[in-house]
């Protein structure tokens, strides 16, 4: 990592120049850093496109809504991992809630729909807070079944909820993986910030 930064600094002494692709993709520099080309310059743009494409897909599918963008807006240099921190809390809490719901419904003599409602409200709230639109919508339907004391309906809703949550989690993992790669690649392009 040190080699990369040193070479970066040297560039900036030549004057205020934006780090264009041509500066970074120089055989000598890549030889110095020992990093493959894809991590230098080129990689960042492609990864950024990948991230945008994935997000666009998730918005299009209604999996995420604008609240997710709000989360991203709240992330900056002073809090660079905000989104992943919040999402990880969401995963942790959601899986606990799903286990609780599954536990309640696997009891044949289950009747505590009020308790179920409390879990669902919590799940709805957290899903809404991170922009997980589809998961939240399933919670709404689930809660309706619960209010009617409809056990079969609740079971169906739970299955759908688990499915939606799974899909969301996989996609968000993918998103964060790409972002990690992008951060790594971007670290190569830019010299040390103040």
């Amino acid at each position: 990592m040190r080699d990369i930064r040193r070479s970066g600094r040297r560039d900036s002494t030549r004057g205020e120049r934006k780090y264009g692709l041509f500066q970074v993709i120089s055989p000598s520099r890549s030889a110095k850093t020992g990093l493959p080309l894809w991590l230098l310059g080129l990689g960042v743009d492609r990864l950024r496109t990948d991230m945008s494409r994935l997000l666009a897909l998730l918005f299009h599918q209604g999996v995420l809504d604008e609240q997710f963008l709000q989360l991203q807006q709240l992330q900056d240099e002073s809090c660079p991992n905000f989104v992943s921190e919040v999402i990880n809390i969401y995963f942790h809490e959601s899986e606990k809630l799903l286990r609780n719901l599954r536990g309640l419904l696997s009891d044949r003599e289950f009747s505590d729909y009020k308790k179920m409602g409390i879990h669902l409200n919590q799940f709805m709230g957290s899903s809404s807070s991170i922009g997980a639109k589809r998961v939240r919508n399933v919670c709404v339907a689930f809660r309706a079944a619960s209010e009617q004391n409809n056990r079969a309906g609740c079971l169906r809703a739970l299955e759908l909820l688990e499915h939606e949550y799974c899909y969301l989690k996989n996609k968000l993992h993918e998103f964060f993986q790409i972002e990690q790669q992008r951060v790594l690649a971007a670290g190569v392009r830019y010299p040390i910030q103040n």
Partner: protein, 235 residues
């Protein structure tokens, strides 16, 4: 990171039982340059505020005394409505019933758009009612309430004593909208016509916010002219 509120930064106490929402509101507030303390329940909030039934201290004074439970001045309290145990509404009531705390502006947040609930909170003295998820545009509306409370405190130190005498009367009164001689009521109504509020309303660029608030506005009586609602539907 300092534990003492400086004059340049307002300090907000955020109350929410949801960890995610606490993280969110903390970030929203810090991004808006506020100092933030978060707690997960109404009772912890009261504890933090140094709440005592007969507490006579003026909380709007900077106090570093170790004997005083409240080490930091709190300029605004923002609380979730639905919490186990003490709800946000219960907390609001307790704050407004306390002579030492009732000057602190309180804002309620809720994920449910229930007009009667919103009305009840406003009538109990909440300054604003935000629908969750709370956004930056909501947080931008907080400053006027904190400025007003701070400004009023500097202007009217003598009237505080009058209020303390009538504290018992206020606790007995369950209906706050009854004719009240307290000077607090007037500034709140003046706020309706305050030109300061107008730019805030026009900042409501988010369409989804307007839809949310439209729903609750329908539930309110027509004579309610608080700018936070009438302004919001004027788009």
């Amino acid at each position: 990171m300092g534990s003492i509120a400086t004059e340049s930064q307002f300090h907000v106490l955020a109350v929410d039982d949801s960890l995610i929402d606490r993280k969110l509101i903390e970030r929203l507030l810090k991004t808006s340059s506020y100092q933030v303390t978060t707690v997960d329940s109404g009772s912890k909030a009261l504890e933090f505020l140094g709440f005592h039934e007969d507490h006579q201290n003026n909380p709007n004074q900077l106090s570093v005394s170790p004997n005083n439970h409240q080490e930091m001045e709190v300029n605004l309290i923002i609380t979730d409505y639905c919490m186990p145990g003490m709800t946000g509404y219960d907390l609001l009531k307790k704050i407004k019933e306390s002579s030492s705390l009732r000057n602190i502006p309180v804002v309620i947040m809720s994920s449910e758009n229930v007009p009667s609930r919103i009305r009840r909170c406003l009538e109990e003295g909440a300054e604003e009612f935000f629908l969750k998820p709370v956004q930056l545009s909501d947080v931008s509306r907080l400053r006027p309430h904190m400025m007003k409370a701070k400004y009023k405190d500097h202007q009217e130190p003598q009237k505080q004593q009058v209020e303390e005498k009538s504290e018992v009367e206020m606790i007995i009164q369950s209906q706050r909208q009854e004719e009240d001689e307290s000077p607090q009521e007037q500034p709140r109504q003046e706020e309706d016509e305050s030109p300061q509020e107008q730019p805030q309303q026009q900042q409501q660029a988010q369409g989804s916010n307007n839809n949310k608030r439209k729903a609750l506005e329908e539930g309110l009586s027509p004579d309610r002219t608080r700018p936070r609602y009438s302004g919001l539907t004027v788009v």
